[in-house]
Amino acid sequence: MKISHYFWHILIIVFIIIAIYPILFAVSNSFKHLNDAFTSTINLIPNPFTFENYQRLHETIPLLKITLNTFVIASIITAFKIVTSFLAAYALTYFNFRFKKTTYFLLISTIFIPFTVTMIPNYLIISHFNLIDSVWGVILPQLADAIGIFMLTQAMRNIPKPLIEAAQIDNISTFNIMKDHVLPIVRPALTSTAIWFFILAWNDYVWPLLMLRSRDSYTLPLALQLFVSSEGGTNFTVAMALSVITMAIPLILYLIFQRYIINTFSSSGIK
């Protein structure tokens, strides 16, 4: 009985090592000299410790501009997705109208549409407005998201109906019910959905890849791609430094809000 107990723990710890090792690998190598990186690959502790990779990264690409682009794109997308999702979820939870179920079903169905189906027309729309190679080109097609509507509808459905009905009896306006009753209760779900959207947009690759052309308008994942091709490995440690920068923000957000995020995703299975 004891032995099997340890067995399960060991199994899980192996999975966790697989999950975490790449992160440690990136952090470790980003602080190594290029030569040490190749001679002491297994050793996770850099010796000697150096910042030169970050320095070189800064000299090679407009790092600050790229980080700012990523941040601006992710923030605007997140703000819009949250507002549009919140409003739609509210209508779908607290109002009764004809075709409500159908509307909800069709909205949720859009989650099942592969991006390849929309990429050519959206590309044409953006280029029609001359927004290729601008942050707006990246942002525009991503201002609404059915996943947000789904997550927030789930959260709102968990609010007991009598709570809202009591407010309606007291003749509270829709806006005030939203602000005073619904918003505080769904705030945890709202927060974690927002953080999730931010992380998704921060990490987004496909659409920026189609939209952005010049280094000055790149986002972090796109910039990282610049360092992949060098098979010789001359840029290896610099690439690791950029990897660390790219994953830092999502990781920090996750560690701060992990409880929210895990709880919200826990309740996100379709019923």
């Binding site: 739609a88 109002f95 690759y205």
Partner: protein
């Protein structure tokens, strides 16, 4: 009625944006799949179903469909099967450290797949990567997987699995934990083995969550794997790592065969709609398990 007016007002932003950037484009892509076009020329030539016919005549494309199904099988094994077992182990076979395990396992889900692809490209480098070095101590070696057909799909799926595992795990875990503990206790009292509890009670009773994860794993996995394909292999060697999603992209933006790309996208869409229908039917059929 004033109320109806409010509900329409609330829905408008989301509906409008999704119509312009999702539903409209979808219709237009179906339209484009009937034309021969190169994305730039002012003239589109109507070709009827010829784009589709051409695709199915193309041996490479038929192989790509096969590879797409290989990806699907790998996603099901890694991101539904293995995840399900892990969730069960942490939910019921382990008593301590659960909180830490959950947080740690979820972590890769927040990391960019470009970062992930790049890191695994180095970690699994057949010459100088740490895995190759450790295997070297035992006289083993990693094949040059980026150019090995079959192997390349397995490794690319593993990279996606690394990223998606945590998310699927959390959802399945909560599905499993949602099963009333009395039912599992009743089974334990009746001397039902751990394996049988998993197959006879846990899986049937969390099946709606499980099925949802199964479907989402396929739908999202095929799209997620685009990133490692693009970053690591560009579909190579000789299309051996491509799938339907990557192929649509490749035809449209590398080869400028808009019609072929659109047709390939529509085929993907049909597969996904079939999965959506399956999900819908399954949920309808199984509602009675809950409560």
């Amino acid at each position: 009625m004033a109320k109806r007016y409010v509900s329409i007002l609330l829905l408008t932003p989301a509906l409008l944006l999704l119509t312009i950037f999702t539903v409209g484009p979808l219709v237009y892509t179906i339209y484009l799949s009937f034309f021969d076009w190169n994305l730039i020329s002012p003239n589109k030539t109507f070709v009827g179903l010829e784009n589709y016919a051409e695709l199915f005549k193309d041996q490479t494309f038929r192989r790509i469909i096969g590879q797409t199904f290989l990806y699907i099988i790998l996603f099901i094994v890694l991101n539904t099967g293995l995840t399900y077992v892990t969730a069960y182990v942490i939910a019921h076979l382990i008593k301590s450290n659960k909180g830490f395990y959950k947080v740690a396992i979820f972590t890769p889900s927040v990391i960019s797949l470009v970062v992930g692809s790049m890191l695994f490209l180095w970690i699994l480098n057949p010459v100088s990567g740490p895995v190759a070095i450790v295997l070297g101590w035992f006289g083993l070696s990693i094949p040059n997987w980026t150019v090995t057909e079959g192997m390349v799909i397995v490794i690319l799926s593993l990279i996606v699995a690394w990223k998606v595992f945590g998310y699927n795990f959390i959802v399945l875990y909560s599905g499993i934990v949602g099963i009333p503990s009395e039912i599992i206790e009743a089974a334990k009292l009746d001397k039902i083995s751990k394996f049988r509890i998993f197959t006879d009670i846990i899986i049937p009773m969390s099946s709606s969550t499980g099925f949802y994860i199964l479907i989402m794993t396929i739908v999202q996995g095929l799209q997620y794997v685009f990133t490692p394909i693009r970053v690591v292999t560009q579909g190579g060697p000789n299309y051996y790592s491509s799938n339907l999603i990557y192929h649509s992209y490749h035809e449209a933006f590398d080869l400028f065969n808009t019609g072929i790309s659109a047709a390939s996208s529509v085929i993907t869409l049909l597969i996904f709609m079939f999965l959506l229908a399956m999900q819908f039917i399954f949920v309808e059929r199984n509602v009675y398990y809950e409560n």
